[in-house]
Every structure is written in C-alpha cells, then in structure tokens.
Symmetry: C2
Subunit: 392 residues, 2 copies
Amino acid sequence: MQNFQIKIPTNLVFGKNTHHQIGELIKPYATKVLLHYGGGTVKRLGLYDDTKKSLTAAGIPFVELGGVMPNPRLSLVYEGIELCKKEGVDFVLAIGGGSTLDSAKAIAVGMCYDGDVWDMFDGKAQITATLPVAIILTIPAAGSEMSPNSVISNEKLGRKCGMGSDLIRPVVSIVNPEFFTHLPKSQLGNGVADIISHIFERYFTHTKNCDITDGLCESVLKTVMKNALIAAENPTNYEAWAEIGFGGIIAHNNWLGVGRDQDWACHGMEHELSAYNDVAHGAGLAVLTPAWMKYVYKENIDMFVQFAVNVMGVEGSFRDPEAIVLEGISRLEQFYKRLGLAQSLSALNIGEDAFEEMAKKTTGAFFGNETGRGSFKKLMWQDVVEIFKLCK
Amino acid sequence: MQNFQIKIPTNLVFGKNTHHQIGELIKPYATKVLLHYGGGTVKRLGLYDDTKKSLTAAGIPFVELGGVMPNPRLSLVYEGIELCKKEGVDFVLAIGGGSTLDSAKAIAVGMCYDGDVWDMFDGKAQITATLPVAIILTIPAAGSEMSPNSVISNEKLGRKCGMGSDLIRPVVSIVNPEFFTHLPKSQLGNGVADIISHIFERYFTHTKNCDITDGLCESVLKTVMKNALIAAENPTNYEAWAEIGFGGIIAHNNWLGVGRDQDWACHGMEHELSAYNDVAHGAGLAVLTPAWMKYVYKENIDMFVQFAVNVMGVEGSFRDPEAIVLEGISRLEQFYKRLGLAQSLSALNIGEDAFEEMAKKTTGAFFGNETGRGSFKKLMWQDVVEIFKLCK
C-alpha cells in the first residue's frame, strides 16, 4: 500500500426531504448566494421553488444564473463570475447535476483569482482560494458533490479539461434520491456508467497489497450494478436510487482510491470525445471502457481475472485466465446494453475523422508535449487511436 | 436506507515515515501543545524524540503529560486539564493508541467547559466546544483517530462511559503502520477484536436496503480478518498491518454505518466488564460477541445467514439456515482463538459475582432508569446476565 492523505470536510446530508434544510445548512458560510442551475428540470421538480423558500426563510439573499448545459461551458462560467462580482456574492449554490456543480466550482474559483479562470484548467495556475460552494444534487453520476474536481468545456478551443484541489470540495452537499426517481432511462445509464468508471479508474492498478481498497471497489461496483438494473426496471424505486446515489458519492470522494496508483485514461479519452462530439460523458465511457480493457488487460492479467471473478461473477478454470477475463469484459458490455447504452462510437454518430486529433489531444502530442495517459498501461496517441478503432 | 448525515474534517495522513510531518501539519492550529502519551513504548519506538524534534522544528512550544493507561482514567484527565490551564495550552497532541487519544479528547473538551468534564460522559452536559486534538497512532484498534468518540474510566465510580460529538474528531491523524509492527501478539488480537466489533455493531441491523454499507462492512471485515492472520504469523509484515490500520480507521469513522440502525450492545456490556475487571477492551469483546450472536440471531436469521455466508465463507444448504449461522459463529470463535484471544470469561479471570450488577449498569437498571441496550435485540438486564452466563 502506498502512503496517502485524505481530508473531506464536506457535510453530506443524504435522504428524503433533506433539501429543505439548505438555507440553515449554508447560513454559516453565506451572506449572499448565487443560485446556479440548468434549465427547466429543477423547476418542474419543485426544487427551484423549495430552494428559494429555504434561502428566504434563512434570511439569505440571492441572485440567479440558469442555463448550465451538460458538458458545462466556460462562457457561462465567465458570465457567473461577472454577475457575482457585480452583486457581491460570497457563496455559490448549485442545484442540479455534476455539470451545474462543476460550473459553480469554476465560478467560485474564478471569483478568487485575478487572471482568467481557464488558467486553472490548462495548468497555467493552481487553485489557492475559492468561494465556498454547495449542491443539491438531482443526478447521481459525476461524484462532484464530494470530489475535489471540476471539468469545464472551452467552446472556443474545443477542449474539455479538469481542475482539482481539496479547496473545491463542497462545504455542504445535499443528496436526496427522490429527485433521481424522475430521471429518464438515458440518464440512469449515463450516470451509472460514469459512477462505475470512477471506480474502474481507481481499481485497475499494478499496486500490490491494496486488499482494503480492492474490496471496497468491488463491493460498491457490485452494488451499483445490481441496483442500476433494478432502477432500469422500476425507475421510481427510491431504495435502488439511494444505493446508486450513495455509490456515486463514495465512488469519487477517493476513499476507494487511496494508497494505490490510479489510471484515468478512459476519462481522458472520453473528455476529448465529448469535446468534439458533445456526447454524454457516461455514454462515451460505456463505449470506451470495454475497448480499453481489451487493449490493456495483458499488462496485468491477474488484476483482470480478479475483476471478472469478484465483480462480474465469472466462474471457470483459472488455468485459462484469458477466457475468464474476456467473459468478464463481455458481461460488462451486456450490463451497459441492458441499461440502454450505445455499444459503439458509430451508434453515437461519431466517425473516424477526428480519431487522430482526439488521440493526440488526449496524450498531449497535439500540443507538442506528449506525456501519455494512464498508469495501468501508459497510452501514447497511437494507442488511443487503436482503442478508438476497437470502438467503431 | 435511512436518511443520514456525515462530515469528517480530519486530515488523515497514512504511511511510512509520515509522523515526521506532525509539526508542520498542526502548526495552523497550535500555539502551545500538550504532548500526551502513555509509558515507555513511545520512547522505545523513538516516536517521543521524533515528535519533539518535529514540534521544535516547526517552532511550536509544548508541555508534556505521560502516564495514560489502557482504559484511560478520569484522574489523569483532570491532571491534564489543570496543566493545560496553567500552561496556556491550546492544542492536545496524543502519541499512542486509542486510550491516549481518548484521554486527549477529554482534556481538550474539559478545557472548554466550566464544570466537571465527567458531565459529558454521564449525559449531564453536551459538548459545545473543544481544543483541537491530533494523534500519531501506535496501535490500530479503537478507531478514535477519525471517530467522534472518547471513552473514559471513572475509577471512583467504577464506571466506563463514552461521549460523542463531531467536534472531537481529530483535526490531524497520522497513522504510520511501521509502529504497529512492534506490537506484541496480544495487542494484535485485542486490536483486531475491537476493529471488527466496530463493524459488527454497525453491520447487524434490521434496516433493509443497505446494500452499499452491507457490502462495505463485509469487505472490510474479510480484509481485516485475513490480514490479522498474516500479521499473527509474521508480526513485522508492514503490508498486513497497513491493511489492519486502514481497516481500523474506516471501521469506526462511520462510513460503514450510515443509513442503518446500529446496535452497540456488545460495546456497552464490555465497558462494564472492563470497568469491573480492567480487562483489555478487545479481549472482552472477543468473549462477548459470539455469545451475543448466539443469544440474538433468531431475531433476524437472514441477517446472520448473510454474515455466515458473505463474511465467514460458510457453504451449505440455505434450507437449514440455523446450521449455517452456527457454523459462521463457530468460525468467528476459531478466528479469535487463532489470534490467541481468550474464549471465556473464566479464562479472563472474571467470575460470576458481579454479573447482575454489571448487567444492571449496562442497561441502566442499576441507576433506576432501565433503557436497555442495543437495537438488533433490545437487551434488558436479565438478557445481559444470560449473555454473561453463555461466556462463563
């Protein structure tokens, strides 16, 4: 096990009706709030009204900025920063999914930085301060509600990049799975694919003696997958959504990933897919992940046998490990299929034209600085092209 | 799944050589430190010198108070409070095991309370403020390093009681498993029995739809048990101790227990055993737990089948659930035995004389206020006597 450090000061409040507490919960941190959201969903759910009511009851004034889209845009972040400066906002409250929270985090960081907030995303600057942020979550997927990360799309540059710092973990996260029961099936599939990818990126490792985190990853993967199929059959099943929601939090707050090398190549590749094609992040991951597995499993076949046996329930002779591994990957593909996820890039209307350019952006080669991606197998741009081809 | 809330602001720093960072890590919180410890062990380990060196290098003055014993005493807590007041201490740093940290937490709370700090332990007052505390851990067991609890023995009253508040979670916890490799085998057994009891107390529940926490509990139980046997064979195996140490933290920081009813009857009964007989907490738990299981399993045999199958690896016909359960409990007893733990109260030199009095203190009947203990089966004092008798 490697040395590690973890500190998650987020106050997580989970369960039915919990969103009504938002005003009281953020009161210690907020004198004026930016209420940040996407489109009509939070209004249809009644969450928009409930939130305003709770803020008003707590005596917290607020201004609003809606319009966050999936793969949240830098332009809206700039607009938010300008609005917050003009209005003297000192707290950003997101109501929505990971995109809304990522946008809120970027606004909050931008408020405490004199330069262009994009500097944090392309590595030119480090986060040293931020306004506090909170979230009332409506979609379990990104794990942003307890994570130190934010991912933003720069429309002008056609790039999607992330920034990370313990400073941007929300001070309060409210996760009420009742909201999840209103999601369309596509959001279930996309969300679950993102959640299990957050675990995969931590799980597949060459680090030895990680029994605890191996076991934690495996048990959460199994639970999320089991409950995803229940929710697919019965989208209003609160209990199934509660398991998925809890799984989504712990999948990405890093309790499952400490003390071991992590990979993150699939996320890196998918960010380019999304930036070029505006596909949903989870949909891209569901196509890329099995292909990545097929491309890399020989690097450490024991790790993949463990996955196939402990997570996917594959039985068979351990003297034919490759058969076990391929059956495990096949079962993962079948799982994605049962959730209605696309099985190929062509099904996502993504052609081959940009494979090389996306691959080069993934590894840095496009910018003349090829660092590669991933640690389980370090992928150079040619590897990424091969993986894209496996997904055609 | 029940609604829940969790917030753990502790900065956990885990791994080899990490204790040298203590000065820098606590510097933001401390202007003058009480260095609190037990006896010669921390000096023999070099930890005492290393800590003083790190504090000095960080420019943090300190005073010292040693002498913490297992089942830490209230009298030393009073002494610590007096010393801290006299010396203007604003931070308490424990070096040692859970007893030392529990003593440190009590001193820290006592420093911010005008009355008798015992008021917090016997329920007369609530914790509203504390000095910050930190720990460099030398024994994995109590889980106090990330928990909101402290347990203190009042020698005059012959009572051992706990207090709890998120406020007393340490601000910094350093867990360096290198120190654990110096522990005698008895400490391994006692520590592991305490760790797995922290999970059992959360695991055995009637709450349904807790797949995530069921799975987390089961995977950590299996990992800790597996690595305990490795460490029993080879006490200097760092990797096994790292797994146990990590398990001990997550066993008691409550990530495994949220969203479900918890029990805590075994801890309640054991606190009286320890208070009357000064046995090690883990040793008492290893005797009581299998007896408690035999006494209560019929309350929810499915839960115990799940334990036997998923944790203890019992196979057999599910149409004879009782046989599966009893085999699971038997395997747990064998596990404790392999760690060298006592199998009966008589082996711990505890006779029957005080069974009734201890039982009545456990449930409150002794104080004319019998609230009972536990939620899996609510135990009244007669139940506790029966369980003690099963342990004879």
